[in-house]
Every structure is written in structure tokens, then in C-alpha cells.
Subunit: 493 residues, 2 copies
């Protein structure tokens, strides 16, 4: 017979007390599978409980898997699959690593490769010139805090709800306005806010390319983009980057008789080389794309980093025939952690992109978008930009000076960027492999990014990306001395 202790004065409803009691008896082993419970009528009568409470309890016990069948005259205890603890797991039935699609397996390999080249955080003796992200020391914390505070005070209800798939409209207006300072004249409706430039690229690829499609890229180019292209199953037509930028003669030849899905270029402070193309190069590149009806994806990820004062305008600024999808981001200027980037694209493309974004993520981070809008509106953005320009200009100058002073004249060459964060070091006069040179540099206390990360095919000579963004001018000068020592030995030896 079922023993029930019901507390009529408890805040716990009686039906729930019955459930708890039965569960306790089953889990404790007092009741076993096959044991019969009294009918609800009998239990109700014997305990003085209202029958509806018993029925409701039995109904729930059944839903929870403790009873064999829905309450009738007799119910029996059921052998219920137990919830697990970690130790009870059995051998997996699927080989998940094989079950994922080939592109996903490739993504794991890409991710492992990208991780391998990350600096060991622990070693403070190593000067790290491999990172490409806004310096955490320069984060305008107070201004950001004020923006979030204000939005959460005045507009929390809305800002914590879903936003528009294309992004918070006032931010789209702000971005359109900001693009005017770079000569780009687009409407807010041509702007789609994305979760950073990387997501912007991913969305453009989803809109414009199918697995197996050919796209045109620079070589070298931004490493994570390269892996993203591979993840999309794209066939890469690599065009070499010369000191003036992408080799346009090679591009013209490559386009003969072909219809690639798009061309991807980084005309300012190119990642990794730091090269900025000039106006003539930009005009010719755009003309080639127009001639071949080739969508041009312009990555302006460091558009704002023109701290040496030169200001070639984006290709998008000349885009009379709507050929260009322009990608921008705040991640390299101020706060990568908020994931704010954007696409400025011809309206039908922008509409497609926002539709894809809607299906794949419903909306972006509405609160962050509203806070960033305020960051612009209060002038904090401009103030921040002026401040970091000074700092990065000093750092880049220290790097350029340091390399000039310390590097051998022969067998080594490097770019001298007009802004941005990175420059490119090529070591042609050595027999050492890139990895060996990389390890020697690391042993000497400098971490650079390996050139192979930025190439679809391994480069001929060892090359390295050198980033100035997270080191002080003094660290950079010291780093140049270390690089100099290693390279002098490598080139002479």
C-alpha cells in the first residue's frame, strides 16, 4: 500500500506532494518497476484527499515517465530511463568527427592552424608583434561605460529586445554619415550592420558565392578570410601583391574568359603587407571589375587608421555603377568585443544580406548597437580616434625607424606603411626555412606572424607580418634590435 504523508498546511500543492513522494519512493528503490499503485478513487478515499488532486498527480507522473500508462483503474510503476551523470556515459554511437561535413572538418583544421600561431600568453619576455587588434590599454572604458549606462537608463526596454535584422537604424544613419568623411555617399538603407567584418564577409559569401565558385583574392591576404573562403568551398584565384598593390596586369590576364563570383581586396593598410594602393591603382581596379562585371568586395577594416595624414579615398567612393560591396568595422579602431561591423552595398545586395542575416540570427546585438550609436553621437568616437592616432603613429614610426637602423641592407626587405597596424618583412637572403627563422626570432624574444598563414600556397622566401598595435614605442625599438640580431645572423650565415 502506498504510504503518503500529506501536509495540508504546506504551501506546496497536494498534487505536487503526491508526485514528490512517489518520485522519492521510486528513485530510492522502495517502489520498483511493475509495482502497482492504488487507483485514484481508492487513494483519494483512503487519504481524504480530493480525487482531482490524485488524478492530476498521476497524470503528471505519467508524463514524467514514472507510470506505465495514463491513469485508469490501475497504474504501475515504469522503468524510467534515468538522467545521466558524466560517468554513466557509454561509448558514443556516432563518430562525430567523421559525421560532420568535410567543410566543418576543414574548419577544425583551420582553427587548429590559427591557434598554433598564437603567442603563449605566459611568456612576458617575448615582445609580441603578431597580434592585430586594437590595444586593450587604449580602450576608452569610461566613455563606453557612460554609453551603456545611458542606453540602459533611457531605452533598456527596446534595446534588450530583438532589433532589426539590418541593424539599429540610428546606427546605420551614423555609419552612412561617417562614410561621407571617407568620400562614400550611401544611404542608411544600403548599410547592414553585422557582427564584425568577419561576419560581413561570411554574409557576402553566402549571398554571392556557391561551393566550387571561383573568387579572386590577393596573395598574400588576410589569413582568417583565406580560411573562411576555404570553408565556403571556394576555388581561389590568387593574384600576387606587388609593392603598389595587387598586380593588375596579372588580374587582367586572369579574368580573360572567366566569370569569378567576386574579387576580394584590402586597398588600405593591406593585411598582412601594410600596402596602400594609390588612386590610379584603384581606378584601374574598379574599371577592370566594371568591364568584367565582377563584384568587388572592398575590405576597409582599417579605413580609420590614416594617422600619417594621407587619405586616398575608398574604391567605394568612386562606385558610380554599383559594383562595390564595402566592409567596415569598429574592431580595429576601438572595441572588438562588441562585434560591430557593416556592409555598404548596392540596395538589392544589402537587402539579400539582411534577409540572410535574419534567417541565420534573427537580429544583431541591439544593446551594443544602441550603445555604439551613442558613442558616435556624443563625440566619444572622434575623441578616441584623435588619441589613438597619435599613439599608433608614434609606434609605426618607431617600427620604421627601428627596422631601418637594425636590419641588414641586403637579403631583407620590408614595407613602410602609410598607416594601419602592420608591415611586411621578407627575408630572401637566407637558406633558413620560415619556421626555423620564426623559432629563432621567438628564441630571441620576438613573436612575428608567419607568412605562410597569409598565402594559399607557401611563399618562396620566409616572410612575416609585423604588427605595431599592442606594443609601446620602446618595446618596438627593442624588438627591432632583436629582429636585427637574428636577421643579420641568418642572412650572413
Amino acid at each position: 500500500m502506498l504510504l503518503l504523508t500529506i501536509d495540508r498546511k504546506s504551501a506546496v500543492p497536494i498534487y505536487r506532494q503526491i508526485i514528490d513522494r512517489v518520485v522519492h519512493l521510486v528513485d530510492g528503490g522502495t517502489l520498483s518497476p511493475g509495482d502497482r499503485l492504488p487507483s485514484s478513487r481508492i487513494l483519494a478515499r483512503s487519504t481524504g484527499i480530493h480525487r482531482s488532486s490524485v488524478t492530476r498527480a498521476y497524470e503528471e507522473l505519467w508524463a514524467l515517465g514514472y507510470l506505465e500508462s495514463r491513469p485508469g483503474s490501475y497504474s504501475t510503476i515504469r522503468r524510467r530511463a534515468r538522467r545521466l551523470t558524466g560517468v554513466e556515459r557509454a561509448q558514443p554511437l556516432l563518430d562525430w568527427s567523421a559525421k560532420v561535413v568535410p567543410a566543418a572538418r576543414g574548419a577544425r583544421e583551420s582553427s587548429a592552424l590559427l591557434s598554433r600561431d598564437r603567442p603563449a600568453k605566459s611568456d612576458s619576455r617575448v615582445l609580441d608583434f603578431s597580434r592585430l587588434t586594437a590595444d586593450v590599454q587604449l580602450t576608452p572604458r569610461d566613455a563606453v561605460r557612460r554609453c551603456f549606462k545611458a542606453v540602459l537608463r533611457e531605452d533598456a526596454g527596446q534595446a534588450l529586445q530583438y532589433g532589426e535584422p539590418a541593424g539599429y537604424h540610428p546606427l546605420r544613419e551614423t555609419i552612412a554619415l561617417r562614410l561621407r568623411t571617407h568620400g562614400v555617399d550611401v544611404t542608411p538603407e544600403e548599410i547592414v550592420v553585422t557582427g564584425g567584418a568577419q561576419q560581413a564577409l561570411d554574409l557576402l559569401l553566402r549571398a554571392l558565392a556557391r561551393p566550387g565558385d571561383r573568387i579572386v583574392v590577393e596573395s598574400p591576404t588576410y589569413s582568417v578570410a583565406l580560411h573562411l573562403f576555404r570553408f565556403h568551398g571556394l576555388d581561389l584565384q590568387s593574384i600576387p601583391v606587388r609593392p603598389q598593390g595587387m598586380d593588375l596586369d596579372a588580374l587582367e590576364q586572369a579574368l580573360a574568359g572567366q566569370r569569378p563570383a567576386l574579387l576580394y581586396t584590402i586597398p588600405n593598410f593591406h593585411n598582412p603587407t601594410g600596402i596602400t594602393t594609390n588612386q590610379v591603382h584603384r581606378e584601374r581596379l574598379l574599371a577592370l571589375c566594371e568591364k568584367h562585371r565582377l563584384p568587388l568586395v572592398e575590405d576597409g577594416f582599417e579605413e580609420e587608421m590614416k594617422y600619417f595624414g594621407k587619405a586616398v579615398l575608398p574604391i567605394k567612393s568612386m562606385d558610380r555603377r554599383d559594383m562595390v560591396a564595402y566592409v567596415g568595422t569598429l574592431s580595429k579602431v576601438v572595441f572588438p568585443g562588441l562585434r560591430i561591423g557593416w556592409i555598404a552595398a548596392p540596395r538589392p545586395l544589402a537587402d539579400s544580406v539582411q534577409a540572410i542575416q535574419r534567417l541565420c540570427s534573427l537580429s544583431g546585438n541591439h544593446l551594443a548597437q544602441a550603445a555604439v550609436h551613442r558613442f558616435f553621437a556624443t563625440g566619444a568616437y572622434e575623441a578616441h580616434l584623435r588619441r589613438v592616432h597619435k599613439t599608433y603613429r608614434r609606434r609605426m614610426q618607431a617600427m620604421i625607424d627601428g627596422l631601418r637602423e637594425n636590419l641588414p641592407r641586403r637579403g631583407v626587405s620590408w614595407t613602410e606603411p602609410q598607416g594601419g597596424y602592420t608591415l611586411w618583412l621578407q627575408v630572401s637572403g637566407t637558406k633558413l626555412a620560415e619556421q626555423a627563422l620564426h623559432d629563432r626570432l621567438l628564441a630571441a624574444g620576438v613573436k612575428l606572424s608567419s607568412g605562410r598563414l597569409f598565402h594559399a600556397h607557401a611563399p618562396r622566401h620566409p616572410c612575416f607580418r609585423v604588427s605595431i598595435c599592442c606594443s609601446t614605442a620602446d618595446e618596438i625599438s627593442e624588438g627591432c634590435r632583436r629582429i636585427g640580431r637574428v636577421l643579420r645572423a641568418a642572412v650572413e650565415g
Copy 2:
């Protein structure tokens, strides 16, 4: 001869004054393409400016496209492509709507369809039972504000930087802990934080399915997932939902001789029907997936909305053989605008998903993840949950009571959910088409979601999703009276 007014006391460097002046003369038409500039030597001598300033200015003017060639003895003004203003745009060269891939065109159609069913915001007389999102009135603004404030005060430097692709580790720990209250025992390493449940689904599809693959879905099912599946080019095997949940006999038949890529199910408070499957159903479904080696994607989007007290545990809680990828989200509980969802999956799958996330977006919103972690850690989450449970329980009860009181006994049926936000109304006893009935309801002042949105193929009878989440109990009671009037006329008429 070039007229230059140089201000030697100005803070503007002299080379930049030269640039500004030449640009001004060209843009104003005083200098024209083909006009010759003096050599740098002559200009320097005639103005008393240091020659290096002139050289630097000419160098930049060339980069900016204002000079025909690099500075030599003579430089001539170049016909530079002008930056555009909106009115200067010419006919686009590409038909972008045709240029985007078919899936992207489909996404635009999907998005248009989803938008069409949105309520007109302006009409305050219409009671809106179509929205499925946490009620903005219940947002715990102060608690959220405190969390952001604290993170930005104590950890702004890190929180505004890129985060780990798998998510902020303390939040992954918190989620793993929270899942234990639902009987799910996973490690933080099996958790990947995503930008909401929708992005979690998208990532799982990218990891597990290729265009053309077949996947198994419930019919009806979550509308935006349906469109997402189409965007991925998947072949949908629809299994009807019965009052007890997905028809498992039909599933078993459908699986004979097939190898779908995955099965997608919403066992709790199913969207749109509101049905919660019982323990027996869950065990059998899991057994079927194990038998057929079929990855099971369990969407637990309203796991936390068990406000009536019944607590069938997730399928994932029984997942001894690592068959289940579980999707969770905070969007339906507290703040959709922060975009916090997650996947709890077997480790190799979790690793693939985070690798894809890395390539496609580098990192999630680090600041939001840190703030949400604090929202849990301070107990604000639990307090919020208790509060909203009371509210939503009252609302759902008002809806169930209201429909019982007002709807005709014949020709209409509806589900009575055990929690969550939605129930499902089927109108079999009418000759009216769904759209006509929808319009009549709207004219009577109630907005419901059309059933066709949730079906791969149009349903036989008009059906509607009814959501309680954004209306008060009084509004719900009044809404039921309005629905009752329309349906009585439709079914009797």
C-alpha cells in the same frame, strides 16, 4: 604659375598646406588636367619652402590621384575620378538581384513572407497574440544595468576585446551548471555560446548538413527554422505532430532505408503547437535516433518556461550515447537583444561548431557574455525567472480559460500547453480559407500567426498560433471573446 599661400605659424604642416591648396585649385577648376606644376626644386626655391616638404606633398598628391606621375622634374594635373554624391550614380552594371545565389534570393522571399505576417505596430486597438518574445515590460532593467556597469568597471579592458570563439568560459561554466537543474550533465567544454538559438541552429546545419541533404523536421514547426532549412538547401522530411508530439510511427517508417543528416525537434512547448512530449515519447524518439545513427537536434528554447510545475527532462538528459545536440537560449526568458544562446553537444561536434564560429565571426559579443555571466552569478536570473513564471502562468491560464468559455465546442480544437508561450488553434469546421479567417480575426481586433508559416506544405484546415507572451491577462480574456465571436460565426456560418 602655382600660387601658394603658406602659413608658417600654422599647426598644419607645410607639406599638408601644399596638398590642401592644390586639391582646392583642382577641385575648384583653377587647375585642369594636363596643367603642369613647377618642379619641386623650382617651387621650393621660389617659395622658400624646404624641398623635402614639396617632395612629400607631390608624393601624396600623386597617391591621391591628382598628379599624372610620380614626382620627377615635371608633374601634370591628372583627370581624377571624382568621389560621388548620390545623384551622380549611373545605371548599375549588374543586376544584383539576379547576381546573388539562388539561396540568397530565397532568403529575400522568406524574409518578405515573415515580414508580411508582422503586426502593424500602429494599431493599438488590435490585441497582438502573434509575437513570440519575452515581454518588454518584464525586462529586469536595473539588474541588467548593474551587471554591465560592474563588468565595465572591473573588466572593461578584457570584455571589450575579442573573446574565445566558444564563448566566455565562466559563462560556459554557468550554462553547464544551469543545465544540471534540467538533468543535463555536460562539461563547459561541450558548450558553445552562440548569438542566440537561431545562430546555434545555423551553426549546427553548417556542421552537419550539405545542400541537398535530407533532414527530418516536425510539421508544423518553428517558422524561421523552416526558412533557414530552405536557405541551406535541405530536403525536408516532415513528420506530423500529433497531440502527443511527433508521430513516431510515421518517423519509424520514414527512416527505413534512409540516412538523413539530422532530426530537429522541439520537445517542450513546441513552437507553434505548445505541445510537450512525455517521457515515454522522448525515450522512444531517442532510441529511434540511436538505432538509425541519426543526430538529434533538441531545441530547448523554452526549457525554463515550466511555470505550471511539470518538469519532463530534456532528451539530452538521457543521452548516454552522445546522439543529441541541445540548443538553448536566453532570448525567450529575459533579453533577446543580447543574443545569447548555446549549443550543448558531444565534444567533437562542439569543437567543429566553435571552429566554424571562429572562421565566420572570430568571436561572440564578449561584453554581453560577461554581463550575462554576472546576471546569473548575482542571482538576478533566478529572481527574474520566479517573477516571470508567475506572470506567464497567469496569462496562460487566462488564455486556456478564455478559450474554454468562448470557443464553439465543435469545429474548433486547441492545445492546452503545460507552459511556454504558445498554443495552437485548429478550425476544421469552416469553409473559410486561413487567410480569410485571419483577416476576419484582425478586423475583430485580434492578431494571430497564420498556420501556413509553420508548415512546409499548406495545412488542410485553417490553423493559428496564439501567443500569450506580450499581453496582460485582461487583454487575453478580451481577446478570447473576440476570437470566440469570429469563430462561432465562421463555424456556424
